[in-house]
């Protein structure tokens, strides 16, 4: 399901992810851009206990942002900002990738969320 949702099951995977969150002044915001065929940054480094909001935008066309371990499955539409709040509760590495086929190189369009203690 895409859109506003709470991912309760994500706590089992060491992080709590919320899509389309309200952004408060206290939030740490990380800008993530998508373009064929990469995310920038490709590695998103977080610290346990420090919530962040990812602001996802695209530089060219529609892409996806899927983090299977967190059950995050979002579209990144041209001209729009997609926000995902992550509350890291445990160290680990979580793979994300584009799940909207975008051409030759789509298979390599991936990155990692690395949570450090």
């Amino acid at each position: 399901m895409r859109g506003l949702q709470w991912i309760l099951g994500a706590s089992l995977a060491a992080l709590l992810a919320t899509t389309s969150p309200e952004v408060t002044a206290q939030d740490k915001v990380i800008q993530v851009t998508a373009e064929r065929f990469k995310f920038t940054p490709g590695v998103i480094e977080l610290k346990v206990g420090e919530p962040v909001v990812l602001e996802l935008t695209t530089l060219d066309r529609k892409h996806g942002f899927q983090v299977p371990d967190l059950k995050v499955d979002e579209n990144i539409e041209p001209g729009k900002v997609t926000r995902v709040r992550i509350v890291p509760s445990k160290a680990g590495t979580f793979e994300f990738h584009c799940d909207v086929f975008c051409g030759s190189g789509h298979e390599e369009m991936a990155g990692e969320i690395v949570v450090k203690a």
């Binding site: 299977p68 371990d69 799940d99 909207v100």
Partner: protein, 312 residues
């Protein structure tokens, strides 16, 4: 040739080379019962997958030859299959619409040399996801359909024309309407490109709403799914449904989640066609057992490779 000798020929055919999955092994369906009135004789068909015509790159420096080698290998089988099915990614993706059509025309010209009397096609994401199946339909026809062959119902599912890898509710409704007239024991074979189950979502080896199709198919007792996409042989069961992935004809990919990235297995000049191949599926006409045989392109004559050097 009577039925007995036909069956003996199958045994002989399956007894040489390759890997044979006997009935009931690795999810091969068994004890399926033919529908009343169907013709009762053995047959086999061949699954080719992920030919990626138009691909160029280090994972397969011989890509301009591989498809022709596969056609020659199928034509060299002791008997010809009733049909050949291509389970997607016939062509490698391109942003250039004219080039996309050109690759599809070239593909059709090459596989026209198959001796088998019929071919069935379906798209992979490389064929269809950038234009929602438009070029594929213009060159090959519908992206989902069904057909009957000697008492077996075949359904082709499209899980790639939606670039987000969904089948979609309209197609699920079509599948239900298509299967509804069949008895619970009817033998059903499904062809699709992506795995319908969550094989490795981290590598995009899944179908977004594949569980809907699986839930629907569980109402029938004898369902077997053949798919591609993951460029390797793989066997899995969801309940009573057997799922079999085929090798590719361009480059192998690593086992699911066996390494951090799903990068192609590096090309080995000492074994240039290792990991490339196709599948024969034989159908026992009496018990209706499906038997799978995996054929490798490796070891197919070097003279063949030289002979099929193409101009594309």
């Amino acid at each position: 040739m009577n039925e007995s000798s036909t069956r003996r020929d199958f045994v002989k055919l399956l007894g040489f080379g390759g890997v044979v999955f006997a009935s009931g092994l690795a999810g091969a369906c068994s004890n399926m019962v033919r529908r009343p009135g169907s013709q009762d004789d053995d047959f086999f068909f061949v699954q080719l997958s992920d030919t990626h015509w138009g691909f160029k790159g280090p994972p397969n420096p011989e890509a301009a030859n591989t498809l022709r080698q596969a056609v020659q290998a199928v034509n060299a089988l002791p008997r010809q299959p009733d049909f050949v099915v291509f389970t997607g990614d016939l062509t490698h993706t391109t942003d250039d619409v004219a080039e996309r059509h050109k690759r599809m025309r070239e593909f059709k010209a090459i596989v026209a040399d198959l001796k088998a009397p019929a071919q069935r096609y379906m798209p992979g994401e490389h064929d269809a996801s950038l234009d929602e199946g438009k070029a594929f339909q213009e060159n090959f026809g519908a992206t989902h359909y069904s057909f009957e062959h000697k008492g077996i119902h075949f359904a082709v599912l499209d899980n790639v024309s939606d670039p987000q890898a969904a089948i979609g509710d309209a197609q699920i409704d079509w599948l239900l309407a298509d299967l509804k007239p069949l008895s619970a024991e009817a033998p059903i074979v499904v062809f699709t490109h992506r795995p319908l189950f969550d094989l490795a979502p981290q590598w995009d080896w899944t179908t977004k709403d594949g569980s809907k199709a699986i839930d629907l198919l569980q109402h029938w007792k004898n369902v077997t799914v053949f798919y591609g996409h993951i460029h390797q042989e793989h066997h899995f069961r969801t309940g009573a449904i057997a799922h079999h992935a085929a090798q590719s004809l361009i480059f192998p990919l690593p086992a699911p989640l066996s390494q951090p990235k799903r990068a192609p297995v590096p090309w080995d000049p000492a074994h240039p066609r290792r990991g490339l191949g196709f599948r024969e599926i034989s159908v026992d006409g009496t018990r209706l057992v499906l038997t799978l045989k995996e054929d490798s392109l490796e070891g197919k004559g070097a003279a063949q490779a030289a002979a099929v050097g193409g101009s594309y």
